[in-house]
Symmetry: C2
Subunit: 158 residues, 2 copies
């Protein structure tokens, strides 16, 4: 069996580079570079977890108490980032979406139904197979996502 890897390189891009791309994106669309937008990007970059708009907002408020930032701005910026394919959103059974930086290598998710933790993995074989299926069904694939639900290693030993 080919290897499955979960410790693939998270950050395929340096923050400076990401930030620069973001500035270019903004300029190209006649949008403005603001402290709020930068901190949302930076927080998404530095946090490995998958964040809800709510938790992202709280995290920013905790880390930068002097800055006022409204939840509406978080939603608006996440929508902007998602439209520009800078972040990707995941929606599960529960309410709400979780966001993650899309600048990482493509990967799929193992979701623990006990503790809600998300582990990522990549598997070449599945990636290839998906491409083949789309081709066979004359479906123009833009994106795909796969989730495996179950009990994670930690929760099994509890």
């Amino acid at each position: 069996m080919p290897e499955v890897t979960t410790d693939f390189n998270y950050k395929t891009i340096k923050y400076e580079e990401l930030l620069n791309d973001f500035k270019i994106l903004l300029k190209d669309n006649n949008l403005k570079f603001t402290v709020q937008r930068e901190l949302i990007l930076k927080t998404l970059y530095s946090c490995d977890r998958h964040l809800t708009p709510e938790s992202l907002h709280q995290l920013i408020q905790k880390q930068y108490p002097s800055l006022k930032i409204g939840i509406a701005t978080v939603y608006r910026t996440l929508a902007l980032l998602e439209d520009s394919n800078v972040v990707t959103s995941l929606s599960f059974g529960a309410q709400g979406k979780k966001y993650e930086l899309g600048a990482k290598e493509h990967h799929d998710h193992l979701i623990c139904t006990e503790c809600g933790s998300i582990t990522e993995f990549v598997d070449e074989e599945i990636e290839n197979r998906q491409k083949n299926i789309a081709k066979a069904l004359n479906f123009l694939m833009q994106d795909h996502s796969m989730q495996i639900y179950g009990i994670c290693d930690k929760c099994q030993t509890k």
Copy 2:
């Protein structure tokens, strides 16, 4: 390449059988068999589309105008059916969930980003690969789902 099939057998169970299982389920849990519950089950069975609570509610009202059914009952019954693994819910980028009968063979989804249509498919190779991955990562798999997003055949020719 092994075949990919989209015309697999939808109904692996006859309605009478499904209904009977449902009645047993209800009895076992001291729950009552009501017209509303039956019609929700029947509508889910006879409709091939993936339904939102909203659309399921409208469909029932249209088909059985004499019956009064509240949206709350639809939500309550869907929750009950989902807990009992009779139906499965899918949540995508958009708001809300869609439900489908879980009594079919397991399958994955092709979702058109143009028209929102959902095509189902099964692929043995991916199914097997998923099992192997879960095993390799010591993850106790309970369920899994895969979605491929893109432009469907019809929308490409438009």
